[in-house]
Amino acid sequence: MSDITKQSLSELVENIKGKKLSSSEVTKAFVERSEKSKELNAYITEDYANALNKAKKFDEKPNLDLKLPGIPMAVKDLFCTKDLKTTAGSKILNNFIPTYESTVTQNIWNEGAILMGKLNCDEFAMGSSNETSFFGNVQNPIDKNLVPGGSSGGSSSAVAAQLTPITIGTDTGGSIRQPASFTGTVGLKPTYGSCSRYGIVAFASSLDQAGPMAQNVKDCALLQEVISTYDEKDSTSIDFKRKEYSKELTKDIKGKKIGIPKEYRVDGMPKEIEDLWKKGIEYAKDCGAEIIDISLPHTNYALPTYYIVAPAEASSNLARYDGVKYGFRAEGENLIDMYEKTRSEGFGAEVQRRIMIGTYVLSSGYYDAYYLKAQKVRKLIKNDFDDAYKKVDAILTPSTPSSAFKIGEKTNDPVSMYLNDIFTVPVNLAGLPGISIPAGHDAKGYPLGLQIIGKAFDEQNILNIAYAMEEKINFKNNITDWWI
């Protein structure tokens, strides 16, 4: 089989289970393609030799009952992996090798998958273009010098370029869905509490959620089924009945009520996005869904709310990177001097900016005006969704207000960068599941995504809707292997 890397996860699983392919063959194919794709800079850490060894071991005694039998996989470098360097895209963790494994990745290895390496991402997942990574920009396989989105930019690039059959990212304000949208791939941000945060380098604890990124909805459903478990080690993990999403996946969404929130028609939204949304509505109707106009009145406040809550939590979460215990340390005259030098040299500009914002909004005298108010608005945003879900089963929106932009285009304009998250951020604030699926191209031929937002714990429903629409949309990613 020559085109191993072109196969979807589901095909690969089937072929390995049917003994048409060995794990070694599959792993070798993805490793070789990854090695030929260094220009994309999707990897921070490669672990190919170990991956090939593990594949060989798997083939010696293959357990074909597993859900991901011998499937090679690279993961975002925000997941702690035992004995393999985990950097979170930061200089401050450049030398950090965990002695432990995140619950989400452990779940994946327990189902037979094999780690190939760690994928690039924005520093501490703070960014929308992968440009804040200490390890450099990531190329979008769609076009040279195009950002792959962020923060899971290495992940989206690697899946789109088929360096890994599937991957996992993390999504705090859109970090799975936006890069998926920018690379013509599928990305699911699960309900908050669905996937354990144990062992994931924290950005904003009340928003962070791991999720699958794939070439299609079915693969996404399968991986979600593997990674979503209740975990006592994460106090915010929720013990609810998880479904076998891939088994229960259906294209029958007849009669499902899909809401179209009027507030998402933002000023200055490109016509292409407007058109894409309209097309999406037609696709949904074609699938038998009922379209209902809804209102999410506090949408406008989501972005400012997010940029208070997330930096506030981040400023505290990142306090542990102080040069004392692990990671990078710059020597100083005394403790304070060491702190200042370590954190000034160890953190990049965007991370420092957010630490400053977060520290400011939590400061005495400002707390009520910013953090406390943001928490109140957050509740209103959640209430908006609760009200909407009295009328509809899911909500359809564009994933992003534009297609992928050029590397460097927005680097010096943080606000314009933050605006990228305008459609994805409310979902995190409300703790809901959201999925981005590729739905078309803009005039430049760059992919555009649609987002389907679900009720809490109703991943199955949005996966079904995405699955049904995916067939109607029949999206084809236009990747020329320009870097090879």
Partner: protein
């Protein structure tokens, strides 16, 4: 010249013509008795090798998350019940953010706005009566690690064994008025927690320490003065010394026409003085906010009721029972209930012996002997059972009180059965009237002249004859019988 009047519990500082009252509030940090830490499973044993009781959570490794230890929550609620306090069914853990080398997370998880326990009270027994001290709140929080500065001239070492250990911060209202009340307060609080088994109260090991808030005001004033907080004082004696110094310092400032700065101070135990650590302006901005890694802590009524059923009889109730049931004086009851081990010992002794005698022997002989040997009641060489036997030997007249002291001394050398000591050493009391008559006859015979004097009205000499009989009998003569027979014979 420091003129401090200390009539009973009133503590007043006199300067020139002014009288000043001292107002004290305590923030006690009590280590929760628990096998493992507040948010991790690491052990909490005292005195372990540095950094051997540290988990990835305690050292704040990337991606590590806190998980609340239910046992510590139960301990805090039990303590709240012991303080007759309101238990808050919903409480919230906040992050207190600051940088320090022994604070791995860069924040301490504490409870700020919504503590687990609300208002309560403690009753103090002062020489001139009872005093109620209000409890403002009790909250759970993590301890920090330990910085060791004196092992190396250039470097500081950090031991994280203590990092993450559960503490209860118990905040009193500013109801205390003297160093003596502070002494009584700490002892009573410690006693309650020991009864409950929620804190061992061991100040040497740092299980109990306090921040002391001190202010002064003119006697009769209703307004509070500006307070200073003396951080982290770890013995009652030091607390008292710090308060005395600090109160006098503040009075001097006021008398000198100066104002007091609200500030945090340290007590230098060597120089016996407090000195400024940081002023209000330099105070940390801790940027408290609810810890997003932890959901609000919610406990049900059932959960609280179950814990209530586990609460043992506490010192106040025990004291009341001892007074009513055993007719002890309040003074005796206070001493016997002051710690649970003493009260247990007492109750074991009186199971089979006379209450009055037991009370006297425990408070008198036993405490003195233990004190002399610097032993705790739990280390007493004399078991409750054997003390009980000794008391019965006195009660049934087998030995006299005086002989009993000799037996007691021997028992202190090792837990010997008093019955055996009496038999082996032939210490049994002589209560045979015939034998005593013979003895007495001999004594009268030997002291004819004195007997004549006695008969002629010198009744004081009676004591002389008793003493002679006791002496001749080697202290074994039954004093009561000796009295009776002597009276007849003389």
């Amino acid at each position: 010249m420091d003129l401090v009047s200390k009539n009973k519990s009133e503590y007043i500082i006199n300067r020139h013509d002014n009288q000043y009252e001292v107002v004290i509030g305590l923030e006690v940090h009590a280590q929760v008795t628990s096998e493992s830490k507040l948010f991790s499973t690491s052990p909490t044993k005292f005195g372990a090798e540095p950094n051997t009781q540290v988990s990835l959570v305690d050292a704040a490794f990337p991606g590590m998350l806190p998980v609340i230890n239910e046992y510590c929550v139960k301990q805090a609620i039990k303590t709240g019940i012991g303080l007759k306090a309101k238990i808050n069914k919903r409480s919230v853990f906040d992050r207190k953010n600051y940088f320090y080398a022994d604070l791995p997370q860069g924040y301490q998880i504490s409870q700020f706005k919504d503590p687990i326990v609300g208002e309560g009270k403690i009753i103090l027994d002062m020489p001139d009566g009872q005093k109620e001290v209000g409890i403002e709140r009790l909250h759970l929080e993590q301890d920090a690690g330990k910085s060791i500065h004196d092992l190396d001239p250039k470097n500081t070492f950090v031991d994280l064994n203590r990092s993450g250990v559960a503490l209860m911060e118990i905040v009193s209202k500013p109801d205390l008025r003297s160093p003596d009340e502070v002494n009584a307060y700490i002892k009573k609080l410690r006693s309650i927690m020991r009864y409950l088994g929620t804190c061992d109260g061991n100040m040497q090991e740092g299980s109990l320490r306090a921040d002391v808030n001190v202010s002064v005001r003119k006697k009769g004033s209703k307004e509070f003065g500006t307070r200073c907080e003396i951080k982290n004082v770890n013995s009652i004696k030091f607390m008292q010394m710090a308060i005395e110094y600090e109160a006098n310092r503040q009075v001097d400032l006021i008398e000198d026409g100066q104002t007091i700065d609200q500030e945090t101070r340290l007590f230098d135990t060597k120089k016996n003085e407090t000195r400024s650590m940081r002023s209000k302006e330099d105070a940390h901005d801790y940027r408290y906010f609810p810890d997003p890694d932890l959901l609000p802590l919610e406990v049900s009524d059932d959960f609280i009721e179950n814990l209530k059923s586990e609460i043992p009889e506490l010192p106040d109730e025990k004291k009341k029972r001892f007074i009513e049931k055993f007719k002890l004086s309040p003074y005796e009851a206070n001493i016997l209930v002051s710690d649970i081990e003493t009260s247990n010992y007492f109750e074991n002794v009186i199971k089979k012996s006379d209450v009055k005698l037991a009370t006297n022997w425990i408070i008198g002989e036993l405490f003195a002997a233990l004190n002399e040997k610097n032993l705790e009641i739990t280390e007493s060489p004399i078991s409750a059972g054997n003390l009980s036997k000794l008391i019965n030997l006195i009660k049934d007249g087998t030995i006299s009180g005086k002989i009993a002291k000799t037996v007691f001394e021997q028992m202190m050398e090792g837990d010997k059965d008093p019955q055996k000591i009496v038999e082996e050493k032939g210490l049994k009391q002589e209560s045979d009237p015939k034998a005593l008559e013979a003895l007495i006859d001999k004594v009268i015979d030997d002291n004819r002249d004195k007997a004549t004097e006695y008969k002629s009205g010198k009744v004081k000499l009676f004591g002389f004859f008793v003493g002679q009989v006791m002496k001749v009998s080697g202290g074994k003569a039954n004093p009561q019988l000796v009295n009776e027979i002597l009276k007849k014979k003389l």
